[in-house]
């Protein structure tokens, strides 16, 4: 059972704050479309991928950080100039990435538990 920190943020500013508060840590970030009042995201792949990603979280390295980030509403996301696309170079949701490294899984890659496990367990 590994000890990692889970952080929940909404929007780009909160995400950046969460990252800068944890300098030097191994940070994994999962980006999803906003969930509505019933807890359902407008992004169908995000709905499918979340249980897969959560299912592998037991493999997260010791002392790492897992940031769950809701990016915004569908219209915000569709804008090609939104901060996530411009600054973090995200191309789609869901995206699971390891901050500061080129390691990332995009969209249907997040649905593959063996890829998620690989990212959490390999250097």
């Amino acid at each position: 059972m590994s000890l990692y920190e889970e952080v929940s943020v909404r929007g780009y500013e909160e995400f950046c704050q969460a990252v800068s508060d944890r300098k030097g840590k191994d940070i994994f970030a999962y980006f999803s479309g906003d969930k509505d009042a019933q807890g359902k995201s407008w992004c169908p792949d995000c709905v499918k991928a979340e249980p897969v990603v959560r299912g592998e979280m037991k493999h997260l390295p010791e002392d790492s950080v897992f940031i769950y980030c809701q990016v915004g509403e569908r219209t915000y996301w569709k804008d090609p100039n939104n901060e996530f696309k411009k600054n973090l170079k995200l191309s789609g949701v869901p995206t699971l990435l390891r901050y500061g490294t080129p390691q990332k899984l995009v969209e249907d890659e997040c649905l593959k538990s063996y890829l998620v496990k690989m990212m959490f367990t390999e250097e």
Binding site: T101, Q103, E109, K112, L115, M118
Partner: protein
Amino acid sequence: GSFYSYNMAAFCKGKHRWKINNLLRVFTRNLTGKCEYDLVVIGGGSGGLACSKEAAQLGLKVAVLDYVEPSAQGTKWGLGGTCVNVGCIPKKLMHQAALLGTALKDAKKFGWQIPGSVCHDWATMADAVQNHVRSLNWGHRVQLQDKKVKYLNLRGSLVNEHTVKGLNKAGKEVRLHAFVPGAAEYGITSDDIFWLRKSPGKTLVVGASYVSLECAGFLTGISLDATVMVRSIALRGFDQQIAGLVTDYMEAYGTRFLWKCVPKRVERLASGALQVTWANASTGSEEKDTFDSVLWAVGRAPETKILGLDKLGVKLNSETGKIIVAADESTSVPNIYAFGDIGEGRPELTPTAVKAGKLLARRLAGHSTELMNYDNVPTTVFTPLEYGCMGLSEEEAERRHGKDGIEVYHAFYKPLEFTVADRDASQCYLKVICERGGHQTILGLHFTGPNAGEVTQGFALGIQCGATYSHLLQTVGIHPTCAEEVVKVSITKRSGLDATVTGC
């Protein structure tokens, strides 16, 4: 490292999808017991990755072992082999950085108001290049996992033709044979140059292979002082007339060449700089100079010793250390195949390794009998003046067909973009070597100029299909381009006429 002894009974009750004696086992200290595979690939480079993914897609159970032994200077890298990490990819990106430097100089002539002089920052470039390479390492990792290829970051060696042993660190040290005192301690190689965090500064590049010229070329292009030391000739194996044009351009472009010089020793001075002493065969005297870095580009040798090949009787070429292979990539030992750079006599190119690997996978899976065709492989040297070629050099064409058996059409041309930029095009040249008489089949194409790789790739298709000189004449050019000069070429060397062609 130690290894587990295996149980013959366990081995025999394996899968039956294939002949039983083709089962391969991999065992390591970390895994419990042994794992059985249909195909084990040692080397996760261009060839290894292509072969393993193809084989897995065709239903074989495949494992890839890839391990990077740090260079003498401690440089390490990830999955993907030479091409991705210390070859093609970082090379082309740094070459592009250098070309952009030249473009910036030209830009003023085309009206761009660029204030003052522009300087280059190594760290910014290196960071961007290294990050891109790391994203490729990751991409390959994901691909292997996705295609169900087992990846082991271990040093593979052969125990016997059915068993591969994996070590998680080098079994023994491989010492660099320093025939030149100070060479290993103070020098770097192409394994290191792309991974430097700080600029190499004033650099001496020893060697005249394409690796040497490409490195010296981009170093010059990003405004570093670069010198090339050549023992005898440049670009051995390539058309020597073209090799001369390439080096002439580099000299005019600012790279210093020390011809017929051989390094004697490298010493570190109190200032930290490196002093290199060499013998100049032309003057018969010893000369010296100081540099910040010395880059050895005197050849890449395969790590066959560590594979344990001699134990198994796999025949190697004693001079090169490479594995002797047949047309189907097989070695002297049944069950063991070799392809990519490690094959004796094979082109050291990514596309040939990739194709050979895929075809081998298909043959092993019983899906095909097609062999790799190593003839007419096009390639490009990414020196400041790029050189693209396919087929025979003029020397080789003469050797095979006789001087009277070939017709060489050639032209010196000037790229339109060079005109306003006021750039010297003296070395922009092309030649098409054809059989004389008969169909005048094209035997070789050589082109120096901008975007030589892009130009040559297109013509490679035609030559692959048996293009003749008359096909060339029937092809309409695209204007204004450099490539159109290939289809317009009409002056023969034999005529002795001036081969300079003018644009419109």
